[in-house]
Amino acid sequence: MLRPFALALLAASAFFATLLALPVHADNGAPAWMHSAAVAALPQYDDKTNAVILYSDELIAVQSDGKIRRTVRVAIKILRPAGRSLGKHRFAYDPDTKIISLHGWTIPAQGKDYEVKEKDMPDEGYIPFESGELVTDVRTKNLDLPAADPGNVVGYELVQDWRPYIFQDMWGVQRQIPVREAHYALQLPPSWEYKAVWANHLDVVPSTSNGLYSWSLSDVPAVRWEPEMPPWHGVAARMVVTILPPGSSNSGFESWAKMGSWYSELTRGRRDVTPDIHAKVVALTASLNSPLAKMQALAGYLQKDVRYLAMELGIGGYQPHPASFVYSHHFGDCKDKATLLSAMLADVGIDSYYVIINADRGAVDASTPPAVGNFNHAILAIKIPEGIADAALPAFTVHPKFGRLLFFDPTDTLTPFGYLRGDLQSNYGMLVIPDGGELVHLPQLPPAKGGTRRTAKLALDPQGNLTGDFVEIRTGDSATGQRYRQHAVTKSEDRVKPLESLVSDSLGSFVFTKASISNLDDTSQPFGYSYSVVARNYAKTAGNLLLVRPGVVGSYASGILERKEPRQYPIEIDSPAQYSDAFDITLPPGYEVDDLPAPVDIDNKFASYHSKTELRGNMLHYDRVYEVKQLTIAMDQMEDFRKFNRIVAGDERSTAVLKPSASAQGPTNH
């Protein structure tokens, strides 16, 4: 994985920037700039606003030797108890981004100010994951501001020196709480230039004075979390600042081509094939004749035999280890795995290219400015050799220069070669090519390439008990999800638990009499569940009627839009997919159909749903197909999406009514 936010993290934890117009410290208390911010009038905020950034100020002072000093001042007013967490801040640093000074204060609504001394700021290793699988030299200084209570103002001043690998900065002006007043200033030495590009915001023109460029914004609204919303980078306003030293190649990126060139240079020689690697390639592919089989063998090796381990040490946040290192250690992060696979593919004569990407679709789009902070992952684009049918490797696009490029993520151990998981489909990534780079749009697979095909042969008895056999065939992310759950299982007897959780969504009472899994580890084949079930009292009696829900197992309706608040952001869907159910339910002896659910046929641009229940002899046959066609539900599609899901939910609850058959009721008296 690329260093997530290496520099952006600093900006994120420190928030913003400052112009140093006011005295730094007042005697025995918070500085004047904080007091000044604390007394400013505020607009009325709603009851979900837990805090407001009263003032943020960031100064990026670039020295002629390329060193940068960042000075950040932030004042936050806590409005509600849930805003107390804004009293805790983590400031990241590493050997290249040293913290020169850090001060923190609280201005209580009443009484004397609090000041936190640097010796009271704990220092700890940066552990973004639950456990310590990340190898990193990034550390954090932790500031825990006292009395971060409603009505009080907390703040800090951070000074940090930074010698960047890339002359680029990102001003993340929009936050999860509103910002009353924000400033960003760039101080450049003579002859240095810059380029500023905004994302998710209209351009802001800076004021200029003697090499000082200053931007200001006020009343920036909060980005409020919504379920299934696009990732942060896809919605929050930010400015990417590219710094251009005079006559130097070491500058930020004005274009994708320039960013691609930087990465191309950074990875030069990393994919060299050593004798050991060559021997392994031979061992893996010698018995294989076709290029496709060779590619599959090498990809499988990277997926299964090279362990993922995130490593971020200095430039190693961006630069992969040499292929020889990855091969000899059998571990590496995303870019390392891509590097070794690329080397191995080259050894069998197949070209491939790095693709630098964000693992969350929606963070980058065609209008995103080139900046390394936008990305957090690396995969490969593999040039598909002639003679391989399109259908064999569907996750490809046709590049005007390189022809068919297959996108493949060797870090993803569960998605088979030739496919992409949903997060990466229809995503944008930077293709790194020998003479530069370009932003490319990754393919979206047809719905039929992923999903669940569930069939069942079932029988109902007069007491409403349902027995029978189910078979589920899962592909794409649907298969990956279950494989992931199964891989987390640590004892054989627990293998059935993920399946129990799945079925209990639909059946209140059930017992498995048999259950098995197919192709758990062989990701080249669809994942399968087969299970036999007894569901007591599945059909409900009502008088002399039996009520049977023919969609016995499976639910796809989403209630995401069933809420009072109007939707603010588009909905991101996991992956394109096709889900189908075909169930045969033999009627109990002595019963016949009295009423059947009406068929449903609905077809939208984003999804379609077709469902039908019919009587075939003494069997109820239920058939439905739900197809996800579009990965982003736009704002103007929300109402249609809501209606669509209500119809699906209604159909999933729809019920057939059985009644005693005329013959079973016996002769009537006349």
């Binding site: 009851d47 108890p81 609090y114 010796k119 704990p122 220092d123 700890e124 994951f129 639950e130 456990s131 310590g132 699988e133 190898v135 030299d137 209570d149 409603p150 299934e228 919303m229 696009p230 299964k304 362990r307 381990l309 000899s328 250690h329 059998h330 571990f331 151990t413 569960l414 998981r421 990956t480 891989h487 987390a488 640590t490 004892k491 007897e493 627990d494 059935v496 638990k497 129990e500 959780s501 209990s504 969504d505 209140g508 009472s509 580890d521 009502a542 008088g543 009520l547 829900r549 209630g559 869907i573 996991d574 009423d595 059947l596 659910p597 009406a598 609850r653 019920t655 057939a656 009514v657």
Partner: protein
Amino acid sequence: MTTLFPLWRKLSRLQQLRRFAFVAALSFAVALAITPALTADDWLPISPEELKMTSEPKAPGAPAIYLYRQVDRSDLSHGGHEHNYIRIKILTEAGRDYANIEIPYRDRMGISSIRARTVRPDGSIVNFDGQVFKTAVQKNRDSKFLAKTFTVPDVQVGSIVEYRFTYDFEDYYIFNSEWIVSAPLFTKKALFTLKPFDRWPMQWNWPAGLPEGATKPVQDEHSSIVRMTAENIPAFQEEEFMPPPNELKYRVNFLYSEDGFENDENKYWKKFGKKQYDRVEAFADKRKAMEEAVATIVSPSDAPEVKLEKIYDRCQKIRNLSYEPRISGEQIKHDKMKLPENSEELWKLGYGAGKDITWLFLGLARAAGFDARPALVASRAEHFFNPKRLDSRELDANLVVVKLNGKDIFCDPGAAFTAYGMLPWVETGARGRLLDKDGGDWIETPLPTSSATRIERKADLHLNDDGSLDGKVTVTYTGLEAQAWRIDEREQDDAARKRSLEDNLKRNIPAASEVELTNSPEWAGSKNPLVAEFDVKISSWLSTAGKRELLPAGFFVNNEKHMFEHSTRTFPVYYRFPFLKTDDIAIALPQGWKVDSDLKPVTQDIKAIAYSFSVASKPGTVTLQRSLRCDIFIVPADKYSVLRAFYQYIRTADDQQVVLLPAAAVAVN
């Protein structure tokens, strides 16, 4: 966007090494020297069987197992240390994550002699020569929690990962420790030794028992080393609704005592009781001040039960620092805040910690003429108390027992939001020591019945022609449920509390709904139930069955949908407290609609837990009534199938549907 799966997440491990219990420091120097059981360059031989093995029959499906674990500890005043040796067999791809090693440690100790290697299935060896990272997990002036991390190379399925290291303790640093015998992975064989510090008596116990393949810890007469071996230790995995994990993990606790141990159980607790009684009396016994205080609370004409309740209520109104956001030492200094040292000071200051408020209540109750005695009980949040362990730290909660009209009344007003006559759940059904000058006696606190803790949901709803439902819902929480809500939300404002109540109701309704709280629940105090009133809208409640419409009978049942869905169980089921849930739902039908078919009442009563459901209809209205009563807090694992069957029965009953005929269908009929 929902992440399909966290690709890089994995379980934390080596929790067995996180054993930093009660700490005691030595104030004098003693030098001892012993030979460690393992020297720095020892690697134990690996058998061909270990290399070849592909699975462990006693741990089928395990991603990895410990082939061997060894802990050799020496509590020396100089050169105290602990050698650790771990050998892991990787059995599946997921098991390769165990090649990422994390060794936690803390202040006053270091880690040295880290060695690691990978042994490939063919027996070839790759020594670890990479970087070890030092990660500070927590650090400030007073304490820090550090970890050393590294990753072992070339780990494949079938490999053996082997590493060892030594904890080095600061001189004179001796502390209570424990062997955590249970681990997240199955352990084939383990060896534990402890060379105790020889100037302090030490005792040990194994509160959760020992695994089948373990020998009891035995101390060697000559070397004084305590030693235990164990084989085939099952992996410890947590389950929903399980008792406190600490209670279930195999472990051996070692306790030092500067003053020596009293091995006679009765004498131990008497001695402890006397000491604690003196401490409590020193805090609470401020007779004159208490008499003056109590005169401002009660009236001489009040009946005794009224007096006691008034004192209790008054104590609950005192600012309780134990339920406020943590106040840092900086804040105390900055605000010149004084902490009360006795009941008189607490009364004057008007604030104090929860336990001190309870002792204030003791003083006030006595001043009002009650026979009131202090008690220490073992809360059941983390452990189940066993007096035979002779570990007084387990008596970690305090309360007051008052004689009133010949009955014992258990009071803990320092537990915020706890109604008079109730105790917080951790103190219910708990064993403890009723203190007196002679050391006191054992008591057991009452376990309230289900009727004391209720969730009553009453709904008055209208069904509309389009299948939507709207109306009013009132939810009343009493007893421990009300207390839990008030504690959870105590630091929030009304807006956040409103959202919490609304979200909770939405989670209970098995359909997408819009919910709006319409009243102002009483969040302060504990006397009254917590009552929340809502407007509720459900856009689509009915299901269609041709000409008929079906009305789901289960309304507030979503939380029980997945309870005990798994067919197997390792540990007992543990409810925190008995409870009763009742639902009374009236649904007015649209004009012209009628009930086509009623449902029969359903009852399932297995004594400790019972369920009933009934439907009544009259023209234009359907009324659903449901009750779920639970009067048990622990169900043994061998009775799990009965409990699971009970919940399956509930779900089947909740899945019933009332058949309705819409007006158009009624007209046709």
